[in-house]
C-alpha cells in the first residue's frame, strides 16, 4: 500500500507536468465555482487539438485509433496532473469515454480506423443517445424505431437528456428494431451521423435556467448498416458495455460540493467569527469531510483495480449516489447559513460568487442525470449485493403489450 509512482510512471508524470506548465495555465481559483460558461466549447476544442497534437489524447487507446497505445494508469496520471490546470475537456468525455469503447468493441475495422482518430482528437464530437421521454429510469422501455429499408436503416422517434448533442457530429444511439419481442431483446445499437436533415436538436431549458441537455428528434434519419454496433436485437448488451466503460471514464471523484464548502468554512467570517469555528458547522463539516474522503479513497481503490487491469464493478454507482445527495445538502445548508442574504442570486454579493445559490438550483439535476438515486440503489442492491429483482410485470411479454398507462 503506497501512493508512490513506479519509476516509469514518475517519468511520465514529470513529462506531462512539464508540458502542461508550458501549454496551459494553472487554475486561478482555489476551488472550482459554478458559473455561467460562455465560449467554453470553442476553448475546449482548441485546447484538445493541442493535446492531441502533442500525443496526449486517449492515452490508453491503440495508436491506429488515434490513441497513444499506453495504459489506463497513464490516463489516470494525465487526469491527475491536468486537474491543477485551467483546461476544459468535459465536452468530449461522453464521446471518448462512452462511445469510443462501444465503437472499438462493435464497429467494423474500416469504420473504426475512419472515425476513431477524429473522435480521439475531438475533431469530431460524439454524444450518447439512450434516454427518451417515456424511457428514463427504464431505459430499455425506449420507443425510437429503427427499420431496415433495403440497404440502410431509417430512424424515427425522440431522444432526450442528450448532453452535448448541439455540438455533436456523431452519436451512439439505442433503438427498437422489434417491438414484437420482449423489451430487452428488440433493441439494436447504432452510430449515427447527426449532421443530416433527418436529425433535429433542441436544447432543454433547465430549472436553473441553463441549457446543458437536448432533445433530439429523428425523422427518417438515415444510418448505413455498417454503422450498426453489434447484432440486430443485441443492443441491450451493447448498451451495458457502454455503461460499464462509463465507469472507466470517471478518472476522478464527481463534484459533490465539498471542496467549496470547506473553502467557505475555512475562509469566511460571519460576525467576526470564522465559519469553521461554529460548532454546528463543524458537526456537519466532519460528516461531509468523512463522506468526501470516503469517495476519494474509494476512487483510489478503483484506480488501483484499473491499474491492475480490472474493470470497476457496479460499486462505482455509490460515488454518484453519495455525491449527488451530499451536493444538495451542502448547497441548502450553506445558503441557509447566509440567512436573508442567502436568497440573493447576485454574483457580487455572495462569497464564492453565488456558487451555493446556483448549486441549490442545479443540484436536483445531479440526483437525476445518469441514473436517479433510486436506480443507483437498485443497481447496488441487485448487481453488487445480489438481491432478487422485484416481481416484473414487463418480463417475458412482447414490448408492445407492456402496460404504459395510456
Amino acid at each position: 500500500m503506497d501512493f508512490n509512482d513506479s519509476k516509469e510512471q514518475a517519468e511520465f508524470r514529470a513529462e506531462v507536468r512539464a508540458w502542461l506548465e508550458l501549454n496551459a495555465n494553472r487554475r486561478a481559483d482555489e476551488v472550482q465555482i459554478m458559473r455561467g460558461q460562455e465560449g467554453g466549447y470553442e476553448r475546449a476544442k482548441a485546447w484538445y487539438k493541442k493535446v492531441a497534437d502533442a500525443g496526449y489524447a486517449c492515452l490508453a487507446w491503440p495508436k491506429e485509433y488515434g490513441g497513444a497505445g499506453l495504459s489506463q494508469i497513464h490516463q489516470v496520471i494525465w487526469s491527475q496532473e491536468v486537474a491543477d490546470f485551467d483546461t476544459a475537456d468535459g465536452y468530449f468525455v461522453i464521446g471518448i469515454g462512452n462511445c469510443g469503447p462501444a465503437v472499438q468493441a462493435f464497429a467494423p475495422e474500416e469504420v473504426k480506423r475512419d472515425l476513431l482518430p477524429k473522435m480521439a482528437s475531438a475533431e469530431h464530437v460524439w454524444c450518447q443517445l439512450f434516454s427518451e421521454p417515456a424511457a428514463g429510469s427504464d431505459v430499455a422501455g425506449l420507443r425510437t424505431r429503427a427499420e431496415f429499408d433495403g440497404d440502410k436503416w431509417l430512424l424515427n422517434g425522440q431522444k432526450i437528456w442528450t448532453s452535448g448533442a448541439q455540438h455533436s457530429d456523431y452519436g451512439v444511439v439505442l433503438t427498437r428494431t422489434d417491438p414484437g419481442v420482449s423489451k430487452y431483446r428488440g433493441l439494436t445499437l447504432f452510430m449515427i451521423d447527426l449532421k443530416q436533415p433527418g436529425v433535429e436538436v433542441k436544447p432543454i431549458k433547465q430549472m436553473d435556467g441553463g441549457r446543458h441537455f437536448n432533445e433530439v428528434f429523428f425523422n427518417d434519419a438515415v444510418v448505413p448498416d455498417a454503422y450498426r454496433l453489434g447484432e440486430v436485437g443485441g443492443g441491450w448488451g451493447g448498451a451495458l458495455h457502454v455503461l460499464m466503460n462509463e465507469r472507466m471514464a470517471i478518472s476522478g471523484v464527481q463534484p459533490n460540493g465539498f471542496a467549496q464548502f470547506l473553502h467557505f468554512c475555512q475562509h469566511t467570517e460571519v460576525d467576526g467569527e470564522r465559519v469553521i469555528d461554529d460548532p454546528v458547522v463543524a458537526d456537519r463539516l466532519a460528516s461531509w469531510y468523512a463522506r468526501d474522503a470516503g469517495l476519494r479513497n474509494a476512487n483510489w481503490r478503483m484506480l488501483t483495480a484499473i491499474a491492475g487491469g480490472g474493470v470497476p464493478g457496479a460499486e462505482a454507482s455509490l460515488g454518484k449516489l453519495v455525491g449527488a445527495v451530499m451536493n444538495q445538502e451542502i448547497a441548502n445548508f450553506s445558503v441557509d447559513y447566509y440567512n436573508e442574504a442567502g436568497a440573493i442570486m447576485d454574483d457580487t454579493v455572495n462569497v464564492l460568487e453565488g456558487h451555493f445559490q446556483r448549486s441549490v438550483l442545479f443540484s436536483p439535476g445531479i440526483r437525476l442525470a445518469g441514473g436517479t438515486d433510486e436506480i443507483m440503489r437498485n443497481i447496488i442492491a441487485e448487481q453488487v449485493l445480489g438481491l432478487p429483482q422485484e416481481p416484473r410485470v414487463d418480463k417475458g411479454i412482447p414490448f408492445n403489450e407492456i402496460p404504459t398507462g395510456s
Binding site: 434516454s131 421521454p133 417515456a134 428514463g136 429510469s137 427504464d138 422501455g141 432526450i160 437528456w161 432543454i204 431549458k205 433547465q206 430549472m207 436553473d208 435556467g209 460571519v270 460576525d271 454546528v280 444538495q328 441548502n332 445558503v335 441557509d336 447559513y337 447566509y338 440567512n339 436573508e340 442574504a341 442567502g342 436568497a343 440573493i344 442570486m345 447576485d346 454579493v349 445559490q357 441549490v360 438550483l361 436536483p364 439535476g365 440526483r367 437525476l368 442525470a369 436517479t372 438515486d373 433510486e374 440503489r377 422485484e390 416484473r392 410485470v393 414487463d394 407492456i402 402496460p403 404504459t404 398507462g405 395510456s406
Partner: protein, 376 residues
C-alpha cells in the same frame, strides 16, 4: 377542547382556495417569474378587493376586524398557489409592525390605507454586514435622517413605504422607523432572487427623512414579536406549498409508467411520498398550534412560532426537493412547475432568517431559568 379551525374559517379557506385555484395558476406565477414584473398586479388588485390586506386590521382602522386564524387559513392557500404578490411584506410584516408598535396617530394614518390596498409596505431589517438576529444594525439615523444600505428587502421596488430597523447614533440603541420609499435620499433597485416570483431589492439611503415607529430603542422587542407572528403565517404558506408539491408528485407518479407499472407503485417512491406526508403533517400540526398561540397572544408564542417555523421549513424543503426527484428528469426542466415550489420554499425559508436562527430561538425558550443541574 377544539384544535381545529371553525366552520367560518374553513369557509374563508375554501373560498380562497377556489379563487386562487382558478385565478392563480402556474401561468400567473410565471408571468412574474419570467419577467421583470414586481408582482402580478391584477391578482394583487383582486386580493385587495377580497379584503385580504384588511383581514386582521381592526374595524376602527378600516379593517375587517377578523383575527390571525383567518389570516392563517388564507396564508395556507397563498402558499399552495404561490401567489406572486407582496402578501408577506405588506400584510404579515409592515401592517403588523404598525399595529404592534405604532402610535394611535400612526395607526389612524396608515392602517386604513393598507386595509384598502391604497398603499403597500415592506420591512427593511436585513443588511449584508450586520445580523439583525444578533441585534446588529449598521444603518444609522441622526436628526431624523437615515443613511446606509438595507439588503435584501423583499418588494423593495414595489412598496410605497418600509419599516426600517436602524441605529440611533445619539442613543446608541436601535428603533424602527417609517420610511417613504419615494422620498429624497432613497435609491432602490432590484437584486436577483432565488425565487423571481418574489423579488428582492436593496435600499441605498442617504439622509432620507424617517419617522420613529413605536418607542425609541424598542426595535429589538418589536422585531422579535413581529418575526414570531410572521413565522407562523409563513409556516402556513410553507405547509400549503409543501402539500401542493406532494400532490404534484402523487399525480405525476401515479400517471407515469415505468417497467410496465405506475411509478407510484414502486416502494422507493411510495415511501418517499409517505415521508413527505409525514413531514407535512407534523409541520401542519405545529402551524396550528402556532395559530392558536398567535391568536390568543399566548406566552407560548415564541416557542410555538419557532417550532412552527422549524417544522415548516423542513417540510417545505423535503417536499419540494423530493417532488423534483419523483418527477425524474422532467422535474429538472424549466417547463415543469416543480421548481416554482422549490424556489418559493427557499425564499420563505430565508425570509425571516434561516434554520440556524430559528433553532436557536426555539432552544432559547427551552433553557430553564434556574440551573437545577446534575453533573455528568
Amino acid at each position: 377542547m377544539n384544535f381545529e379551525f371553525s366552520d367560518e374559517q374553513k369557509f374563508i379557506q375554501e373560498q380562497a382556495r377556489a379563487f386562487l385555484g382558478d385565478k392563480c395558476t402556474a401561468a400567473q406565477v410565471r408571468e412574474v417569474l419570467e419577467s421583470d414584473l414586481t408582482h402580478h398586479a391584477g391578482l394583487w388588485q383582486q386580493v385587495i378587493e377580497l379584503g385580504w390586506p384588511a383581514t386582521a386590521i381592526p374595524e376602527e382602522y378600516g379593517g375587517l376586524g377578523l383575527g390571525y386564524l383567518e389570516l392563517c387559513v388564507l396564508a395556507e392557500e397563498i402558499g399552495r398557489s404561490l401567489l406572486p404578490a407582496p402578501v408577506s411584506s405588506s400584510i404579515y410584516l409592515a401592517t403588523e409592525a404598525i399595529k404592534l408598535a405604532g402610535t394611535e396617530e400612526q395607526k389612524r394614518a396608515w392602517l386604513p390605507r393598507l386595509a384598502a390596498g391604497e398603499i403597500t409596505g415592506t420591512v427593511a431589517f436585513a443588511e449584508l454586514d450586520a445580523s439583525i438576529h444578533k441585534g446588529q444594525v449598521a444603518v444609522e439615523v441622526a436628526g431624523g435622517k437615515i443613511s446606509g444600505c438595507k439588503q435584501p428587502v423583499a418588494d423593495a421596488t414595489l412598496a410605497d413605504f418600509a419599516v426600517v430597523a436602524a441605529r440611533d447614533i445619539a442613543a446608541d440603541n436601535f428603533s424602527l422607523y417609517l420610511l417613504d420609499l419615494s422620498a429624497e435620499g432613497v435609491t432602490r433597485s432590484g437584486v436577483d432572487s432565488l425565487d423571481p416570483s418574489r423579488p428582492l431589492g436593496k435600499l441605498e439611503l442617504k439622509q432620507a427623512p424617517v419617522e420613529l415607529l413605536g418607542g425609541a430603542g424598542e426595535g429589538a422587542v418589536t422585531i422579535d414579536r413581529l418575526l414570531n407572528g410572521a413565522a407562523i403565517l409563513l409556516a402556513f404558506e410553507q405547509v400549503g406549498g409543501a402539500e401542493a408539491a406532494l400532490n404534484m408528485a402523487r399525480e405525476y407518479t401515479t400517471g407515469r409508467y415505468a417497467f410496465g407499472r405506475p411509478v407510484a407503485s414502486f416502494q422507493a417512491i411510495k415511501h418517499k411520498l409517505a415521508d413527505m406526508f409525514v413531514a407535512i403533517e407534523l409541520a401542519r400540526a405545529n402551524a396550528y398550534y402556532g395559530a392558536w398561540a398567535l391568536s390568543t397572544e399566548s406566552p407560548e408564542l415564541p416557542l410555538a412560532a419557532a417550532t412552527a417555523r422549524v417544522s415548516a421549513t423542513e417540510a417545505a424543503w423535503e417536499a419540494t426537493k423530493e417532488n423534483i426527484q419523483a418527477h425524474g428528469g422532467m422535474g429538472f426542466t424549466w417547463e415543469f412547475d416543480c421548481h416554482l415550489y422549490y424556489r418559493r420554499a427557499q425564499h420563505l425559508a430565508l425570509l425571516l432568517g434561516g434554520q440556524r436562527v430559528w433553532k436557536n430561538r426555539l432552544v432559547e425558550q427551552l433553557k430553564p431559568a434556574a440551573s437545577n443541574s446534575h453533573t455528568l
